[in-house]
Symmetry: C2
Subunit: 335 residues, 2 copies
Amino acid sequence: IETPIVAVAPGDGIGPEITDAALRVIEAAGARFETLPIKLGEELYKSGHTSGIGPDTWNDLARSHALFKGPITTPLGSGYKSLNVTLRKTLGLFANVRPCRSLHPAVATLHPELDIVIVRENEEDLYAGIEHRQTHEVFQTLKLVSRPGTERIIRYAFDYCRANGRKKLTCFTKSNIMKLTDGLMQSVFEEIGKDYPDIEQDHMIIDIASARLAARPQDFDVIVTSNLYGDIVSDIAAELTGSVGLGASANIGATLSMFEAIHGSAPDIAGQKIANPSGLILAGVMMMNHLGQGDVASKVHNAWLRTIEDGLHTGDIYKEETSKARLGTQEFADA
Amino acid sequence: IETPIVAVAPGDGIGPEITDAALRVIEAAGARFETLPIKLGEELYKSGHTSGIGPDTWNDLARSHALFKGPITTPLGSGYKSLNVTLRKTLGLFANVRPCRSLHPAVATLHPELDIVIVRENEEDLYAGIEHRQTHEVFQTLKLVSRPGTERIIRYAFDYCRANGRKKLTCFTKSNIMKLTDGLMQSVFEEIGKDYPDIEQDHMIIDIASARLAARPQDFDVIVTSNLYGDIVSDIAAELTGSVGLGASANIGATLSMFEAIHGSAPDIAGQKIANPSGLILAGVMMMNHLGQGDVASKVHNAWLRTIEDGLHTGDIYKEETSKARLGTQEFADA
Ligand SMILES: CC(C)[C@H](C(=O)O)[C@@H](O)C(=O)O
Ligand SMILES: CC(C)[C@H](C(=O)O)[C@@H](O)C(=O)O
């Protein structure tokens, strides 16, 4: 792509502050893209769009290569569907990729060796959003799993391992109970795995897998799993690094992909210029890699690592023992 | 109950060894019950009962007050349903109660303050076992949640807190995505919670809740959740104590309740007389409490604690630094 188009949605709460900070860092590293500002979230909810997204936005997204997105607050209440889920499904963002890595001692954790990437199926499963009231007192949600969707995510995960020099892929399911749906994922994993003899492969039942992950995250490398399990295990892995505030995620689609921090919009500290832009900066690293500008990605990643390791920290990860200075959002970006 | 009837199913793999050891300990503490030996598992699978349970057994269970059960191996393959799940559903064992507590330094763990009880709904949810092949390539599993089932488990959890001097109950759901099914559990939790102003109450979304549990289990007291989440979080909590081999669980029903270890049948070490009977001994403690013989329960629990704290350990938890002796199954029971 000559000059890719990046749609930018600053989002709600701390979104605008950290989006601004993250973009400044990425641009300073020499990123080559055109930005297209778009609106998502609160503003639209307030003006009566219950989906949180306007009709023009879909058109803007159709001509973008990436969406760089700040956190968004979906209003509570049964009238609203999660905007994140709407974006994932409407834009066909089939893979949610979440790298989690400890930075001990700069960021203290009980698990200094943790270095995991979670590849989460992002469109199917219980997130399909199909629910019924069957009788006055009985409710159901459908867990939906398709072979094409499963093949795509499993193949993506194996390819990801190869492209990123990762050695082992572990698949988490509950195939001993859900023999059709989760059983499908396990058998597709085993089938497709035959094409990747260079990658070590393992399948684990989600209960003991989550337990091992919680106790000894250093035993895992790349994990592939379905939507809901992925939601749970990626939060576990991120938290065990010592701070969810540092987590980034890529939502990969066939044409457009979306990049965001994994934390929320933290309305309680919005506008105070103290929020940590790290999650979004690292989302920017993933985006630049995805757009084929690996040089820019490395520059940003190294600068960020160096800043954290130098003890220049925002308040959320500031600790007397390990930090040298407590910086605001903009100062951290400058550093 | 004058003299309760306890059905005893030794189970498969290490089951018979540890059942024998656990029963000896409980009986030595003065337990008052009649045992009724029953058959479940491997033996029956081999003689062609694909359910793993024979017709006579149901009759025996109908006149028992408790089922004391060793671990069972359900054969792999789509023709077999998990016997554990069959028992839970057929016998109406609606609540699965799993206490998890650290015994640091006797059993080393990163989380010495962990002391949690998980109350897991045990009959509904994705475990209802309803699966379909919709088209050649699309599969579904039904997540089924009823108001009566939800009310029963929530009320049971609150009552458990009161009866056991527990101060706080936290409910885990994914109500932001599954507004009908998980939303029902959240709203029933809030409704019924009004009857228990003496218990502190909180609701958390399962992703961040699991992450907090993995990172800071000491922040939780009693947790109530649905079947699949309960499966995952109880394995996490048990593993974080330093050994799943020590976990016990009670499956509570209206008339009969079932008591078992949470670990599996470990066929690899079966017959070697080295398996740890602790999970089943602690299941016995829960059973004696349930049968109204709290004196016996305390005696067994204290003796067990003392043995572990004295460093008398089976091989699975033996560590140079913290153990004094490495005992076999029978020697541990004797101690
Ligand atoms: C906000 C919520 C809808 C979302 C999810 O459940 O996927 C979040 O937890 C995540 O992991 O991105
Ligand atoms: C063996 C399996 C069917 C069972 C479950 O999934 O409930 C086990 O993991 C448990 O937690 O008791």
